[in-house]
Point group: C2
Chain length 253, copies 2
Amino acid sequence: VLTPEELERLRVVLVRSRNPLNIGAAARALSNFGCLRLRVVHPYPVAFREARSAVDAEPVLSAAEDFDRVAPAIADCVLVVGTTAGTRRVPEAPLCRLEAGAELIRAYLRSGSRVALLFGSEKVGLSNQDLSHCQLLLRIPTRTKHPSMNLGQAVAVVLYELIRESPAEAAVPAETVQPLATAAERERLIALLLEGLSVNGFAHGVSHTRMEEKLRRLVRHLTLTPSDVSEWLGLLRQLLGKLRIAKALHRKP
Amino acid sequence: VLTPEELERLRVVLVRSRNPLNIGAAARALSNFGCLRLRVVHPYPVAFREARSAVDAEPVLSAAEDFDRVAPAIADCVLVVGTTAGTRRVPEAPLCRLEAGAELIRAYLRSGSRVALLFGSEKVGLSNQDLSHCQLLLRIPTRTKHPSMNLGQAVAVVLYELIRESPAEAAVPAETVQPLATAAERERLIALLLEGLSVNGFAHGVSHTRMEEKLRRLVRHLTLTPSDVSEWLGLLRQLLGKLRIAKALHRKP
C-alpha cells in the first residue's frame, strides 16, 4: 500500500487531450484514488477550460499544471512511464503489462523518486516523440480485438492498480464453492412465502414492499442449494394448501 | 486468469443509467476486457438508444438485453453482487473491498455459476430495493473524501480487477531501486550532445529532430545516477570547448 506521501510523488500527465469530458473524468479518477497532481501538455485550450467545471474534480483541476511540451512536464521525474494499447512501441523501452509495471512504479515512489505517468490523446495516443521520453511502457491487458480504451477509463484503471492491495483473505478455491440456487429460484421461494403471509393481510400493518424486502434479505442470507429450494417450495406449497382449506372451511358457516 | 468461457458467465447489469455516454463507456469497458454480456434495467429509453451508437462498442450494445425490473435481469444468476461507494449498506450483505470480492466472483465463475454484477444510477447508485437482491457488496477502494466514481470508470476498474493477473515478476524491493537522474538532468546531457554534434551540421544529413530522438533513446537506455550525469556533463563541456577553439583556429587564416 502506498502512503499519501508516496502517492504525492506521482505526476499524471495528459498529453494533447482533446475532450473536456475526458480531462474531467481523468481528474475525477485522480481525486477518487488520492493522486492529486495532474499535468496537462498542450490540451485544446477550450477543452481544458471546460474540464475545469467537471463534477467533483475542481481541486485537482484547479491545481493542474499546464505545459506546452512534454519535456518540462516531466523534468522533475526520475521514472517516465508511457501508456500504450500495445500497437505502437519504441526501441529499447520495455513494454510490460500494467500488473508488473505497477510493481516497479510503486518501488520508485517508495524509494523517494518522482514518477511521471503519460497518457496520450484520445485518437492517436502518445506520439513517437512523446514515447522517446519514456523508460517504460505500460499496457493495460485489454483484448487484442479491442485494445484501445477510453482515456478517462484508462487513467482510472492504472491508478486503481497502483493503489490496490493484495486481498487479505486467501483465494477461495473453486472446489469449496457450493453450487447455489439461482436468484430466480430464491425469488420463487420469496413469492410463495409472501403469498402465504399475505393471507388475511400482513401482521402489524407491514406493507407488501417492506415484507418483500425483509423476506429477500432473510432468504438471501440462507445458503440454499437448488435441491434445498425445491424441498422448501414443496413444504411451503403444502402449508399454503392447508391454509386455503382452513380459510374456506372458516368462511362456510 | 479467467477463460473466455468463464467470463461469458458474467452479466454486467446497469440499473437505471441516465447518461448515454456512461452506458456507451460501460459497454466499451466490457468489450475491452472481454466481458460481452450487458444487461440494462429501466434505462432512460433515449439514453439507451443514443448509447447504441457509442464508439467501438456496437457489438456489446446491440447484444445488450433490456429489462424493466432487477429480478428478471438477474434471474439466471447464482451470485448477485452489488457495487457501492460504501456509504449505503444493506443488513446482512457483507461489504468487502473489490480485491477480495473479485476472488470470490472468479471462484464462482470458475465453478460454472453465473454471476450478476450490478451498477446503480449515476446520481444515487443502487436503491435499497436493488440492494435487497444482492448477496455481496463490492466497494472500490476510493478515498473517503471522494468515494463516488463515474459509472463508466467504475465498470472499467471492476472488470480490470476480475481479469488482471498476479505479476509474473516478483515485487521489486525498494532498496534495489537506484536513485536515478531526473528527466531534466538527462535532457541537459542530450542538449549538450546535440549542440556538439550539430557543429558543422549532422552527419549523413540527419535532421535535428531525428538526432534528438536518437540521442534521447540512447541516453534513456543508460542507467544514469545524478552524479553520472554531472560527470558526463563536465566531460562534454570540455569536449565542446575544445571543438569551439579548434573551429575558431581553423577559421582564422
